[in-house]
């Protein structure tokens, strides 16, 4: 394991030295497009001057991952790519489709896998992940991520209709994901109603019939197990 990691880091280094300093604006453009503000971020970023440093993309500074974890993530990501696109620069640009990401063993058994990928995807159609999105995902699910950011993303994953609050439909979909989607494994309608009533009774502090982010985080803060179970180890 360590051998391949160091080999990879050497490759990365060599790649950087050959290519010199590229424009990081290239990397910033994708998400900016996705959020409907074309080219805004790209225009502002300037190429960093001075000597070359390997941590030029600031992955370590901006995520909760260690260098080893980033290299490992890159390796796993490259394995999803076709052989001819596995060079470092290309792997940082290219997007991997949802199906391929979902085939990772770490996500395969997860009932929320599609939601997770959609939340972290920055492409306009929300159906593919770039390496940076993948790093974002791993960073949020890593050991060292703060409970705050974990609960924020958990909320977005559970918010199935992306409307910013957990309403009754979201909750029932969430419970179905937890108990299994099959007809025989679901809770009965009366049980579901009772359960959702109880959940709202317990966590909807302002009594507006839905759970918003702060109410959700309030509930999460009461469960110490959350941070340990909201983890994906690559």
């Amino acid at each position: 394991m360590g051998g391949s990691g160091s080999r990879l880091s050497k490759e990365l280094l060599a790649e950087y030295q050959v290519r010199g300093t590229p424009v990081p604006g290239e990397f910033a453009r994708g998400p900016a497009l996705a959020s409907g503000v074309p080219g805004r971020a790209a225009g502002r970023v300037r190429p960093p001057g001075g000597p070359l440093n390997p941590s030029r993309f600031a992955f370590q500074e901006l995520t909760f991952l260690t260098k080893q974890e980033i290299l490992l993530a890159h390796k796993r990501f490259c394995e999803l790519l076709p052989q001819e696109h596995r060079s470092v620069e290309e792997s940082l640009q290219i997007r991997v489709s949802l199906e391929q990401i979902l085939s990772l063993p770490e996500l395969k058994a997860n009932p929320f896998k599609e939601r997770i990928c959609r939340v972290f995807s920055t492409s306009p159609a929300r159906d593919s992940l770039s390496f940076e999105d993948f790093l974002d995902l791993l960073s949020v699910f890593s050991d060292t991520a703060t409970p705050d950011i974990k609960s924020h993303y958990a909320f977005r994953i559970f918010d199935f209709d992306d409307d910013g609050t957990l309403n009754r439909e979201d909750l029932s979909q969430l419970v179905n994901c937890l108990t299994g989607q099959g007809e025989d494994t679901r809770l009965s309608a009366s049980e579901m109603k009772q359960l959702i009533d109880n959940i709202l009774e317990e966590s909807d502090i302002d009594r507006d019939g839905t759970i918003n982010l702060s109410e959700f985080q309030h509930v999460i803060s009461r469960s110490p197990d959350f941070a340990s179970s909201f983890k994906i180890v690559l």
Binding site: A28, P31, S35, A41, R44, R46, A58, E61, L62, T66, K67, Q68, E69, K108, A109, N110, P111, F112, R118, I149, Y153, F155, R156, D159, D163, G164, T165, L174, V175, C177, L178, T179, G180, T185, L187, E191, Q194, L195, N198, I199, E202, I205, D206, R207, D208, G209, T210, N212, S214, F216, V219, I220, R222, P224, F226, S228, S229, K231, I232, V233
Partner: protein
């Protein structure tokens, strides 16, 4: 006049068909129109307030389009769709999805952070930014700012922070990586410019840059070391596999095992460095008599060939070893003294064991308090349904089968919770409750009786052993008492499990706690009687021999046999039982008994701590035992067990485990050792303390010698006289500790009260919000109707005109 109509139209018909992530601009449009609406409305209401007041007391006579009634909080689901739409676009709701809201929230946080830090660097922030900052207070008016401006302000704020803190803030932002990077780049480029401007001013920035460079280099060095450690982290894949297949609960057992390994390593290192290593380098003169040959039985009994080795207390000399002083724990004074004071073995023995124990104690208390802080929050009692639904999925699980099991577990748990909740609504009958109490009492009585029986058996057997002393030839007979103890330790928990099947507890957690409690009582009572047997009886009986060696060997035997019995238990309790239940009974695999296994670990650790004074190498043996146990348990788990069906509060449980390790186990061992050091007379034929009345005398002798040595080290005797021999400071410290604990409890109580009040207030605010929205709606309805009426009238007039 046309404004209300546009407002209604500007709201999207359904939030769903708005696309996955509605653009922030739409939201701010909604906010804008709502803001305008309120302003306009307030004027309007001021004009026609009279009419409104008349209508206010009663419910509106004509409920607008069928859903304009003012709704109480008890019926929150019947809000009109329009109300719900407005609610959905409120700032508190948009944080979850829009980038603009996130940026503005983090802007506010950064401002707060910066105000708190208030570093001198702030003076460098460009003047131009300040007034605009004051103008835009986002907390007052989040609607007025476009996302672009918010972003700009955030970048400005980020510049005010030191680099490390800025990275920290950026890392914690729920934004995409590219977005974070561009924010970082922007704030960095501006900082650099500013730095450049400041650089011209004088020499100081040069020093500052040097300092920064040093700090950065150190930081990156530390990071590198940390990541190196991370790469070295043992068992990463084994633990990942266990977590993936069995979930966090079983994982907690293996993590606990890892913690114990760390504790033992921490205990072993000083012992190895200052006792075993030194003594092995300067071996004492060989004891008279032939060295017994190695038979192989020693591995079980620990006696025979092993007796006169560094393993046991008896081997250590009571003299000072001719060695220049290592800067060790026997006081830093020695090297300063004339002719390089030699290594005083008794003192080193006492201090090393004491310091090693003290380090363990501090680590243990720290990890316990940390674990408590993690797992118990103020007011964390209510809300079990919500917590179960939101937090119960274990994302570590990677296997299809394990994921199915988890689905099943969660479903059963949810059903149980609902059933329990319904049961609580209907109180149980008096008769049923009486029967339950009776069964509970009976089972407890039986359990305590069993524990008492076991204790009496061990006591009787130990007395028997004393009466018929074992000759050196039949070493095997030494194993009799430990075997009995281990058999009782193994058998009684199974009996308890059968008894527990009789009583039906309301909650599974309570069941686990009760089981832990019973097993703990049994183990502690048996260990207690053994301690009495060693210190109270054996010391008197073994007059001429080395009783410390005997106790050390006895603990070694107990430990080894305990290991063997755990292996047997794994073999028969897990493997054979699995075969039987799969082949014959056609049932599923047995569950992994986490509580029982953890208690076994705690028991083994207690034995180690009890024996460390008499056999300094016992932690090493415990380390080997734990390493073996890890692989054996892992293999057995993978082959024979399935994940526990009960939901398991992993972090609460690990807190309980650490507290159990601290409270009865470590504290008991510490009391035992303190008694042995302060009260019991060491044997006169062996060991470092052979000439002294108690082991503690070694310290006293040393202090007396220091007193004679001169005034330069007079503070040591002074400390000894006033702090150790005088009991007053001990009382003072305990009283202070109690006071601190009491104050803490009171503070927590106060916080709970404040939390309750705040919650009440939030719920009131929510009601107010809905009330206001409904009010606005009803006002609009009427306005619309009036507009319609005037239009109609105009039309009518027009019609009349045409007529």
């Amino acid at each position: 006049m046309a404004q209300p109509l546009t407002f209604v139209l500007s709201v999207p018909e359904t939030p769903e068909d708005h696309g996955p992530e509605p653009s922030p601009y739409d939201e701010s449009e909604v906010h804008d129109s709502f803001y305008q609406l309120i302003q306009e409305q307030s004027q309007w209401v001021a004009e026609e307030g009279l009419e409104l007041q008349q209508r206010e007391p009663g419910p509106p006579e004509t409920p607008g389009s069928g859903h304009q009634t003012l709704l109480g909080p008890e019926d929150p689901l019947v809000h009109s769709t329009a109300t719900l739409r407005i609610l959905a676009s409120m700032p508190s709701r948009t944080i979850g999805r829009s980038r603009g809201a996130i940026i503005s929230q983090y802007y506010n946080r950064t401002v707060r952070l910066r105000r708190r830090v208030s570093r001198p660097e702030l003076r460098g922030v460009g003047r131009s930014a300040r007034p605009s900052l004051r103008l835009y207070d986002l907390e007052l008016d989040p609607v007025a700012l476009e996302e672009e401006e918010k972003r700009f302000l955030l970048v400005k704020e980020l510049q005010g922070l030191p680099v490390a803190q800025r990275d920290h803030v950026l890392r914690g932002m729920p934004l995409g990586l590219a977005e974070k990077r561009s924010l970082r780049e922007e704030s960095r480029t501006l900082t650099r410019k500013r730095r450049g401007r400041r650089g011209r001013r004088g020499l100081l920035p040069c020093c500052g840059r040097l300092r920064d460079a040093c700090v950065l280099a150190l930081h990156s060095l530390g990071l590198g070391l940390l990541s190196g450690l991370h790469a070295l982290m043992p068992w990463r894949y084994a633990l990942k596999r266990i977590g993936g297949q069995f979930g966090s609960s079983v994982l907690s057992y293996f993590l606990f095992l890892k913690t114990l390994l760390a504790f033992n390593a921490l205990l072993l290192l000083p012992l190895l460095a200052f006792l075993v290593g030194v003594q092995a380098a300067f071996p004492p003169p060989a004891s008279p008599g032939a060295v017994p040959a190695f038979t192989g039985l020693e591995l079980l009994t620990g006696a025979g060939r092993f007796t006169h080795t560094v393993m046991y207390y008896g081997y250590y000399s009571n003299t000072t070893l001719n060695q220049p002083c290592v800067p060790p724990l026997d006081g830093g004074q020695c090297s300063r003294e004339a002719d390089g004071l030699p290594y005083n073995m008794p003192l080193a023995y006492l201090f090393t064991v004491g310091v090693a124990f003290f380090i363990t104690c501090i680590t243990l208390v720290y990890s316990m308090s940390h674990s408590f802080g993690e797992s118990y929050r103020v007011g964390s009692t209510a809300g079990v349904h919500a917590v179960t639904v939101f937090c119960s999925w274990d994302h570590k699980v990677t296997q299809k089968r394990a994921s199915r099991v988890q689905h099943d577990n969660i479903r059963t748990h949810l059903k149980e919770l609902l059933a329990e909740w319904q049961l609580r609504q209907v109180p149980r009958s008096l008769c049923g409750r009486l029967r339950q109490v009776a069964v509970l009492g009976l089972v407890w009585l039986l359990c305590l009786g069993t524990a008492l029986g076991c204790t009496v058996a061990v006591y009787a057997f130990s007395e028997l052993m004393i009466k018929s002393p074992v000759s050196t030839e039949q070493e095997g007979a030494l194993l009799a008492l430990p075997t009995v103890v281990c058999v009782l330790n193994l058998g009684a928990p199974y009996l308890y499990r059968c008894l527990a099947a009789l009583e039906r507890h309301d909650s599974p957690v309570l069941e686990v706690y009760v089981a832990i409690c019973r097993n703990l009582i049994l183990k502690m009572v048996i260990l207690g009687i053994l301690c009495y047997h060693w210190l109270g009886r054996r010391v008197g009986v073994l007059k001429e021999q080395c009783w410390e060696n005997f106790v050390g060997q006895e603990l070694y035997r107990l430990m080894v046999l305990d290991f063997i019995f755990v292996l047997l238990d794994t073999l028969f309790g897990e493997l054979v039982w699995r075969l039987i239940s799969e082949k014959k009974l056609k049932r599923e695999k047995p569950e992994f008994d986490i509580a029982g296994n953890v208690l076994e670990l705690i028991y083994g650790q207690t034995l180690t701590w009890l024996g460390v004074l008499f056999s300094p190498l016992l932690p090493a043996i415990q380390i080997i035992k734990l390493l073996c146990l890890f692989y054996i348990k892992k293999t057995s788990l993978m082959a024979n067990c399935q994940a526990p069906r009960r939901p398991w509060l992993a972090s609460h449980m690990s807190t309980v485990f650490v507290s159990l390790l601290c409270f009865p186990s470590f504290l008991g061992a510490a009391v035992f050792l303190c008694y042995a050091v302060w009260q019991v007379r060491p044997s006169s034929t062996c060991g470092p303390f052979r000439t002294l009345d108690t082991m503690y005398e070694a310290g006293k002798v040393w202090v007396r010698r220091l007193e004679q040595a001169g005034p330069s080290v007079s503070w040591v005797p002074w400390i000894h006289r006033y702090l150790v021999e005088n009991t007053f400071p001990v009382y003072l410290v305990s009283a202070l500790l109690l006071a601190v604990i009491y104050l803490n409890i009171q503070v927590v109580k106060g916080q709970r009260r404040v939390m309750y009040l705040l919650k009440e207030q939030i719920s009131n605010e929510g009601e107010d919000k809905i009330f206001l929205i409904n009010k606005l709606h009803s006002v609009y309805e009427r306005k619309e109707r009036r507009a319609g009426r005037t239009q109609e009238a105009e039309q009518l007039a027009g019609d009349l005109d045409t007529w």
